[in-house]
Symmetry: C2
Subunit: 143 residues, 2 copies
DNA sequence: CCATAATCTTGACTCATTCCAGAAAACGAG
DNA sequence: CTCGTTTTCTGGAATGAGTCAAGATTATGG
């Protein structure tokens, strides 16, 4: 787990002002991978009870734009955030409980896949979402 | 383009009652691939001015459950529907204008990819979304 | 043609996210 | 260290896709 000074470094390195809400959000995202915005708001308020939800939304947008966090949005779910960035890894999502786990990129660096026919698009990223059942739901369902 | 009787066949084949809203929605989805719900509602009302939005939502859910249409939800977009089903093809999405194009499955049959480490999940589908710029936005941006 | 169960209409409601205006805080210059 | 500028945060209202619920309609088997 990174320390406060580390988060300050991260923020400065991205040319972002260092504020308490930003440090707290960074910390929350690092501590709770794949958490949705509401969970992050609650986690942040444990350290900073007065933050507004708007501040958290703003901070998450700024951090995402700066590449310090990554936003993921599996179908049927609200936006979620994770601190693992820069490696273009993918996700497995449980159809039953919504749980998400990381999956390393199957091939290599981003984009790790090239479309067979790109219709003229200039593709720069391939995002893969695997769907299935997590171990728990799998066990519960087959019983 | 399929005809009305064809849609009735499709519906009956899926054990769904044949109703005017259902036929109209099927027709709209076939005519406008990747359309969002609102566009579909407007298209349906050209044929059936009185349909409620709720009916369209219900029908889309029923058709999706029956496998007659496929629902896609690229991040940052509302739900969209397409009539091309059963071949697990993928999509390229334009980062700038949101346009979507189909991409044939790169490898073979579904699931066309196997995660390197599935964390114990029973994976049954791999959904790939390519991100980039469509020809138009690409040209506009580089000028 | 009837009965029954599925489907549709209407209209209220939820909830994630965004918009807005003013207050507060960060940070570079002096 | 202090000030001024600019960004960020607070508080609260608003937006909009999608859902819920109750009663009216309609498709379909007999």
């Amino acid at each position: 787990m990174a320390s406060i000074p580390d988060y300050q470094q991260l923020l400065r390195g991205a040319a972002l002002r260092v504020t308490r809400p930003r440090v707290a959000v960074l910390d929350a995202v690092h501590a709770h991978p794949h958490a949705d915005t509401d969970s992050i708001i609650r986690a942040v308020r444990r350290a900073l009870p007065e933050v507004s939800h708007q501040a958290v939304y703003d901070v998450l947008r700024a951090l995402t734009a700066a590449g310090l966090v990554r936003r993921i949005e599996p179908s049927g779910s609200v936006a979620r955030y994770e601190a693992r960035v820069g490696d273009n890894h993918h996700h497995v999502v449980c159809r039953s409980c919504g749980r998400i786990a990381d999956v390393d990129c199957a091939v290599g660096e981003s984009p790790c896949l090239t479309p067979s026919d790109d219709s003229g698009f200039a593709v720069d990223e391939a995002e893969v979402t695997y769907w299935g059942l997590c171990p728990e739901c799998s066990a519960a369902g087959s019983s």
